[in-house]
Symmetry: C2
Subunit: 154 residues, 2 copies
DNA sequence: CAATTTGTATTATTGAGTTAATACAAGATG
DNA sequence: CATCTTGTATTAACTCAATAATACAAATTG
């Protein structure tokens, strides 16, 4: 693959419409590689670093860049598709969805309620009052908004 | 074990100081057995069904009751001990701790902040507003309180 | 002080989840 | 229409967490 015959064709790759993604993988982090991919891409979408309509690198390209198996990238892309964050166009590549999440509100609410239940239960375990939790939610929400704004400005 | 020789000694067991725990295990729930134990015992402590100072069933007793391996119960008890919910007295049994959680507030806050961050990020992904999340937290907190009160009354 | 009851430690087996190797299908493109 | 690039599908190997089998250590108790 490295010792390819013929004239230099690297230029083709550098012209690719899809950006070169800034992703870092920690092979032995405990967290599965495909999940690291999902999380980092999710966060990049959430923070505005990846804009709707933008094309993601082809599965093989990203796999080569990160020195991992294409199947691993494929799995991450599939999960992102199910989550509604990206759309695949058969042979044309993978793109960031225009709308955040296409799931029905009822479904989303159900998922969120599960998360909230777990949080509230755990907070209770740790002897935190409702007010503590509410304050923390507001505080961390603000922090995320700040991070977002900064990312967009860059 | 069932066809034990000698006179009937079952009476000894029925006089045990430790209660007969109401726990239900779903072997193929995806959730590991030891975690099901941890969660259910945690919840019983949180809801007041298990009072501080109360003795838990001996590892072997609970294992036999639930038809699982003693090691699995031992693991659950160990995790509960690390979490500070129970205390072990070498050869005298396992007891519900007097205080809920002995972790320093700083530590607990750190853990809770991680949870909140994840929740806020996910809620944002799902296009929920901060107000939605706050309302849901209050709502589910109230629901948990109700469930608690009911459990104590029983 | 022997017996019983408590939790502990070590090791092996199993099973699910993760990753990789490889071959395939389908649409775009010159 | 041949070729290239895209995502897809199938299968195998590997890793690790969960559970079980078994033997051990320590304290109470009659």
């Amino acid at each position: 693959m490295t010792a390819d015959a013929g004239p230099v064709r690297c230029a083709d790759l550098s012209f690719s419409r899809a950006l070169v993604m800034q992703i870092h993988i920690s092979p032995n982090d405990g967290v599965p590689i495909y999940l690291q991919l999902v999380n980092q891409i999710k966060y990049q979408v959430a923070s505005g670093r990846l804009a709707p309509g933008e094309e993601l690198p082809a599965i093989r390209v990203l796999a080569e860049q990160l020195l991992i198996n294409p199947n691993t990238v494929a799995r991450a892309y599939r999960e992102l598709e199910v989550a509604g964050l990206v759309e695949k166009r058969r042979t044309a590549g993978t793109y960031v969805s225009e709308q955040g999440s296409p799931l029905a509100r009822r479904e989303r609410l159900k998922i969120l309620t599960e998360r909230v239940d777990a949080l509230v239960a755990e907070a209770g375990q740790m002897d935190f009052a409702l007010e503590d939790v509410l304050a923390l939610v507001q505080q961390r929400h603000a922090a995320l908004q700040t991070a977002r704004a900064q990312a967009v400005r860059e």
